[in-house]
Amino acid sequence: MSLALLIIAIILLFLLRVPMAFAILGPSVVYFLVEGYTTHLAIRLVMQGIDSWPLLAVPLFILVGIVATRTEIADRLYDAAVLFLGPLRAGLAYVNIAVSLGFSWMSGASLADAAGLGAIEVNHMRKKGYPAEFSVGLSASSALISPIMPPSIPAVVFASVAAVSTGALFAAAVIPAFLMTFALVVLVWIWARRRPDLVGEPYNRSAVRRAAVRALPPMGAPVIILGGILGGFFTPTEAAGVGALYMLLLALSYRTLKPRDIAMIFRDTAVITAQIMLIIGASALLSWILAREQVPQRVAESLVGLTENPFIFLLIVNVMLIFLGMLLEPTSALIIVTPILLPVAITFGVDPLQLGSIIIFNLMIGLMTPPMGGVVFVLSSVTEIPLERVFKGAAIYLPAMIIVLLLITYVPALTLWLPQLIGL
């Protein structure tokens, strides 16, 4: 069975709404049957793709994110941000960004941010007179801070596939995530200058102080998780476990969690884990096929033949990844492209940590572009704003994302300085 046929079949199945995992598994098992490989090798490769200690961080970070959104924890963050930033002109837009930034230190997935906070942020903004496209587009863009800022689930997956330190990759992503936040703030500031009608409400200093105190305990989670990893106290998986325990205890201490809520939190964590892990298992099978067909070597030869200039190489990589991100779910794309691009990038002198940040950033942009646009689909569902309007809204923020992407692509210090500084 030719490789081209395999890829075409996968893309066709994607477009025909076959679940991502089965769209990859289906043609891959046909390849196995046609090429005479045993079916038990196929299932073993799928299981091996999931059976990984670093990947155990994924369900635990999902758990942290779900506990944060389902309990008073997210509300406390939101309260504090509204009272603190609300008085600014277009304050709710800054609140949207600030809450996503705060949430990103606890959650590593954009979909969790979009699903958990999207409805609150967008409905609140619309009720206060903000345009629907602007509001939902901002939520889509700010939701992308979560998978870039550590703890990041895509970073865990990349580190696992590329065999680099997850802690170092987390450190490498801090500056790009802050740059992205800054870009969104600048965009909102420029937009707000033309909207004097969106005046904030006056400050109530004591209410702000009280809300800030209430938001302090939730901010202990990022201190435990990031401090634990970057300080060398825990592995990322252990930090995720300790962070999840802290969040559960915190939620229980607020006495708002009923036993049924706890059961639902674990059930929903299991559902999202299965969604992601099935795709990871399927992609591991496809990666094996690509390795057997010597795709990494062929791509390397083609790229080296095309250019010897690292600047152009990175430009090609970005264009290719943006296109891939538009078509593929980020986790599967990460597992498929990382083994292909990593050896070539190293020959061009690109550091694996920088490459990881570039790949993750590109694929996350794909979450707000058609046709895949996972964040857009989630936001359209939770806000009931038609899909095309959400895509239109997200497009407002795309140029800012591209500028940040180009910065992290061509200024290696933005990703490499911090890991080097803390000796990772």
């Binding site: 709404r17 045993t38 079916t39 299981m47 409805a119 559902v271």
Partner: protein, 213 residues
């Protein structure tokens, strides 16, 4: 949105009440914003009869087992942290946590098919195809899932029947048991695909209704 018209508070009781009311009002508003959202889709179940009960119980079992495995993963990872400070080795905790993730993934796969739309999929076709065409696409999707599961079931069955004396390196769990869980889970996914074809896709394709999920 909270009103900011209360008196400035600097320790006075009335001021404290004002702050509490303000934050309470904000939380009420947030709750109202949170609860707005689209209605959930119905699960994929036979319309009536004992098979409905069987599939409903299976769905509950999958959810309970998936959730318990997640709890187990959390406990084992925390145990790994604690054990580091104790003498001796407990490599089995990491191994069991990893296997639990494999089992939870496969066990929840059937749930993802039965309680749509949990699987991650591009649903652009829904905006293009309507009526019978869309029903045909959904029938095709379930056939792809079923065919893929059948091949993987064959592979899992071979693993279970050949790995008779093998055990895992650290915990010495029987590999038959380790591989049997994905086998059972894949059979449940295939059963859901058959259910989808019979109770939803074929009736919808013929234009006689069917479960819309």
């Amino acid at each position: 949105m909270a009103r900011h018209d209360g008196p400035p508070a600097d320790g006075a009781d009335s001021a404290n009440h004002g702050q509490a009311d303000e934050i309470e009002a904000l939380e009420e508003e947030l709750h109202a914003l949170k609860t707005e959202g689209p209605p959930a889709e119905p699960p994929l179940l036979p319309s009536r009869g004992p098979m409905r009960t069987v599939f409903r119980v299976l769905g509950v079992l999958e959810q309970v087992l998936g959730s318990l495995l997640l709890v187990l993963i959390l406990v084992l990872v925390l145990a790994q942290v604690a054990i580091r400070y104790l003498p001796g080795s407990a490599a089995w905790t990491g191994e069991l946590a990893r296997l639990s993730m494999v089992w939870a993934t496969f066990l929840m796969a059937g749930y993802l098919v039965a309680y749509p739309p949990h699987h991650i999929a591009i649903q652009v076709i829904d905006y293009i195809a309507k009526g019978r065409w869309l029903a045909g696409v959904k029938l095709f999707v379930d056939v792809v899932i079923l065919a893929t599961c059948l091949v993987l079931i064959h592979g899992s069955f071979t693993l279970v029947t050949t790995a008779v004396d093998q055990v895992t390196p650290a915990g010495e769990l029987s590999m038959r048991f380790v591989n049997a869980i994905p086998l059972v889970a894949l059979v449940l996914v295939a059963a859901r695909a058959v259910l989808g074809i019979v109770v939803r896709d074929i009736p919808a394709f013929r234009g006689s209704g069917g479960n819309p999920a």
